[in-house]
Amino acid sequence: MPQTATANILTILETDFSGVVEEWLGTQVKEGVKRSDLFSDSESRAQNQELLKAFGKGVRAGVVNEEFSLEDDAWEDLRAVLADVSKERVSRGVTPTEMATFVLALKAPLFKRLEAMPGVEGGKLIRDVLMVTRLVDAFAIYTNEIFIGERDQIIERQRQEMLELSTPVVELWDRVLTLPLIGTLDSARAQEVMENLLQTILERQAEVVIMDITGVGTVDTQVAQHLLRAAAAVRLMGAECIISGISPMIAQTMVQLGIDVGTVSTRSSIRTALSDALQKVGYVIKTTEAS
């Protein structure tokens, strides 16, 4: 008899919708991915109902001759619901494995019902099972993609925020600037830091700049390269650069890596760097008579 590949699946979804939802939830509990600690029972149920409804709609309209693509218009509802659910789950700290298992758990109830259907056996059963597997797998892969995309967005946002708040140039004294570097120094940040620094030198007519790397965790050849380039640019502008905060550990690494600082002065602490800087612009620090 003429029957499309998805007819049996649709029948199941139409006749036993809430049964599938309940069993899907049950499988999630069994697999340990329901996260009752993060979502209440009614919340999970509502999410599952919505997802399954959108999934059913997609299966009905979006599968032609056993072929389908979740990018098609027919699957729009599912994509929208998934985007919401994923966003919610990322922000509550659900892992990718839990997310994938959560979707894949839909297979068990569907298989069981296919098996119990009258007249579905042998080759026909295998074909139906294959169809369900393909649909649910695509569903799961798509879910993970959205999930990862969601996380990427968070990372990108945080990176942007870090870039913005991490390059303060501070005026310590007349004509003396300091640039406390914190965290990692990648190319993008180094560029930002350098431009910001040079602009400030111009505005304040600074003669000495102390680049303090106490807060920089590791110095490899690339970080050293960025620092020395910044120092060279500072010199070209007509100011002098002191790199301070070089720990014994970092000094050893730099020598082992064969990094040559050339004519740039280096100091172990910002304290000595400051006193040198003040001397260069013509000040001395003196204790008062009383002390």
Binding site: M194, E195, L198, Q199, I201, R235, L236, M237, G238, T263
Partner: protein
């Protein structure tokens, strides 16, 4: 010598102002004129004011380095003053660190350093 680039005697140094629209020919001519003036006027320093220079390329960078080399041979120190941030970044990116020149923030700074020398 065109009017775009001027050479003036300030104290014991020659002040050279390089304009933004300087052409390659003019800057080569400048090299010639400047070396003659250094020898004739027996100055201690040459101050290259590049504050109006907004764009540099390897050619200009090399000419500056050469000017410094020539002055050094004629016993004058070269100070590059007023370099813009964008120009400094570009030169560093081109790998031209101009090690043979001295640098100063402004003409005043360069002159006071020359007086001390």
């Amino acid at each position: 010598m065109s009017g775009v680039t001027s050479i003036n005697l300030v104290e014991n140094a020659l002040l050279v102002s390089i304009q933004d629209d300087v052409t390659d020919t003019e800057i080569v001519e400048l090299q010639e004129t400047l070396s003659n003036r250094i020898a004739k006027e027996n100055v201690k320093g040459v101050i290259l004011d590049i504050s109006s220079l907004e764009i540099v390329d390897t050619f200009v960078g090399r000419v500056i380095a050469q000017l410094a080399g020539i002055s050094r041979l004629l016993a004058a120190e070269t100070y590059v003053v007023g370099m813009r941030p964008a120009v400094a970044v570009t030169l560093v990116e081109l790998g031209m660190y101009l090690p043979e020149t001295r640098t100063a923030l402004s003409l005043t700074h360069a002159l006071s350093q020359l007086r001390r020398a």
